[in-house]
């Protein structure tokens, strides 16, 4: 199946490959290739972490501005132009806040909880591609890796809920765990249908399979049910309204976060927003063609009469790819924020019913339907 992916990729533009260029230029300077690779390795990772953090700041600002607009307020205004520095000020405030650990809590688990929540969320950025080679590493397990990492998060939530020795926290932690296990299976099955169409779990192969026909080739047309299942389940995994029961403020004060303050609270906050952006990016990758633009760039290049292999076209192509991925992702973030002010929170029994009695059967049917369509129309469904 990997040879299939490779062959397909060779038909398209190879695109910009920073790693090879970097390593080649270092080896030309006389550095052995192993050392050059070791120098290269942390660079995209640090860039990705910084990018993810900046993405969170942008999302927090957007959330505030869009929420304000939904309620006919102005929102943050004075800190920087249009209040863009408000999230930075939030972060600074939280750094200087005192760290209160309840006397009756378990201090080790209390600290470990938010850490375990944040690390896997950041780690999932490993597989988010922004271009043919603009990905930290194109592992063959791609989306499966993400699904397994996302199931580590509830352990951290449960841990912090339990360690707080507070009734609200414990209930919030339990709800968080129940919610994420209920929606993980529909999520995994929706991803599975996409993986089946591209014959690979690699995110790069999944985008490759959607390329070539512009907006018409995107998976959303072939997987409309899967798209909806994935989006609902992703919102539930991120604990966004209407699925924010673990921190339902009217019932549970702040759920598992009740006893947290200062930087540990900030880690939860960071984790939830990183997770939201990550889910939006993955919806873009799995269903909305990833870095592909609605009109194929190769088509535009042909119309303009530019050779596909010219160097500047590769740079333009990479820039368009990154912009497209982010545009699609932030469009979904926008929808998530609007949903927050549109739909009310569901009850816990409604939440579990939706997960087990609706999404699970529907996602199974969607998977089998995809398999049947793949047999009937092998060309249209990825051969």
């Amino acid at each position: 199946m990997y040879t299939y992916g490779r062959k397909r990729r060779a038909e398209h533009m190879e695109g910009i490959d920073l790693q090879q260029t970097f390593i080649r230029s270092l080896t030309e300077l006389g550095i052995p290739s192993g050392a050059a690779k070791a120098i290269w390795m942390p660079l995209p990772m640090l860039l990705m972490i910084i990018g993810a953090t900046v993405g969170v700041l942008v999302t927090v600002w957007l959330e505030r501005k869009i929420s304000a607009a939904a309620q006919q307020r102005i929102g943050p205004e004075y800190i920087g132009p249009l209040g863009v520095l408000a999230p930075v000020a939030d972060g600074l405030k939280l750094i200087f806040k005192e760290d209160t650990v309840p006397a009756k809590s378990d201090p080790l688990l209390f600290t470990l909880g938010p850490v375990i929540v944040v690390i896997p969320v950041f780690l999932s950025y490993l597989i988010v591609p922004f271009g043919q080679n603009l990905v930290i590493t194109n592992v063959s397990m791609g989306v499966l890796l993400w699904i397994s990492l996302s199931s580590v998060v509830p352990i951290g939530l449960l841990m912090s809920g339990y360690a707080s020795n507070n009734k609200y926290s414990l209930l919030g932690g339990l709800r968080a765990a129940a919610q994420s296990i209920s929606y993980e299976i529909p999520l995994a099955l929706a991803v599975l249908a996409v993986a089946m169409m591209s014959n690979s779990l690699s995110t790069v192969d999944i985008v490759d399979q959607q390329s070539g026909y512009g907006i018409l080739g995107w998976n959303i047309w072939r997987q409309p049910i899967g798209f909806l299942i994935f989006w609902i389940a992703a919102l539930a995994e991120c604990e966004r309204i209407p699925f924010d029961l673990p921190e339902a403020e009217e019932e549970l004060v702040a759920g598992y976060q009740t006893e947290y303050s200062g930087m540990k609270f900030a880690l939860f906050y960071l984790g939830s927003y990183v997770n939201l952006v990550l889910s939006a990016l993955l919806v873009a990758v799995l269903y909305l063609g990833g870095w592909e633009s609605p009109i194929p760039t190769s088509l535009l290049a042909n119309l303009a009469g530019v050779s596909e292999t010219s160097a500047w076209l590769e740079i333009v192509d990479a820039a368009v790819g990154i912009t497209m991925t982010l545009l699609k992702a932030y469009f979904l973030v926008f929808i998530a924020i609007l949903l927050r002010w549109t739909v009310p929170r569901v009850r816990i029994d409604q939440l579990l019913d939706l997960g087990w009695k609706f999404l699970l059967p529907v996602s199974l049917v969607n998977l089998l339907l995809t398999a049947a369509l793949k047999i009937a129309f092998p060309v249209a469904f990825g051969g």
């Binding site: 939280l94 490993l126 499966l144 507070n166 299976i185 599975l192 009695k357 092998p378």
Partner: protein
């Protein structure tokens, strides 16, 4: 090691992303004030003196969901290799998966009828 090529990046990225909480917590530790008193370290319970602890025995309704989850999670993991290699397997694999899913759907219907999926 061929199968695991590319996974050294996973380890590297694990280290890099562990830096985020490590740096954040260390920076906060250096910068924040610390005033400790017995009052501020009490457990929050809407302004009341906490009644009892949270570490007690209680009925977890989510337990049944956890059991059903394990069953379906294993099912999903079994389906992953099937789906990825599906184009080479053809019609027979489809029928096999149909039988496999049908057995599990019977399990789901059983759990449903038994009330394992009811929250109350």
């Amino acid at each position: 090691m061929f199968v695991l090529s590319g996974y050294e990046y996973l380890l590297g990225f694990l280290l890099v992303s562990s830096l985020v909480p490590a740096l954040a917590l260390t920076a906060a530790k250096l910068l924040r004030p610390s005033r400790r008193g017995p009052e501020r370290r009490t457990t929050y319970e809407s302004g009341m003196e906490p009644i009892g602890a949270a570490w007690i025995q209680f009925n977890i309704r989510y337990y049944m969901f956890a059991l059903v989850f394990v069953i379906f999670d294993v099912e999903t993991v079994f389906l992953y290799p099937w789906a990825v290699a599906f184009s080479q397997l053809g019609l027979l694999a489809f029928i096999e998966a149909l039988i496999f899913v049908a057995i599990l759907v019977v399990g789901l219907v059983y759990a449903w009828r038994k009330g394992a999926l009811e929250w109350s």
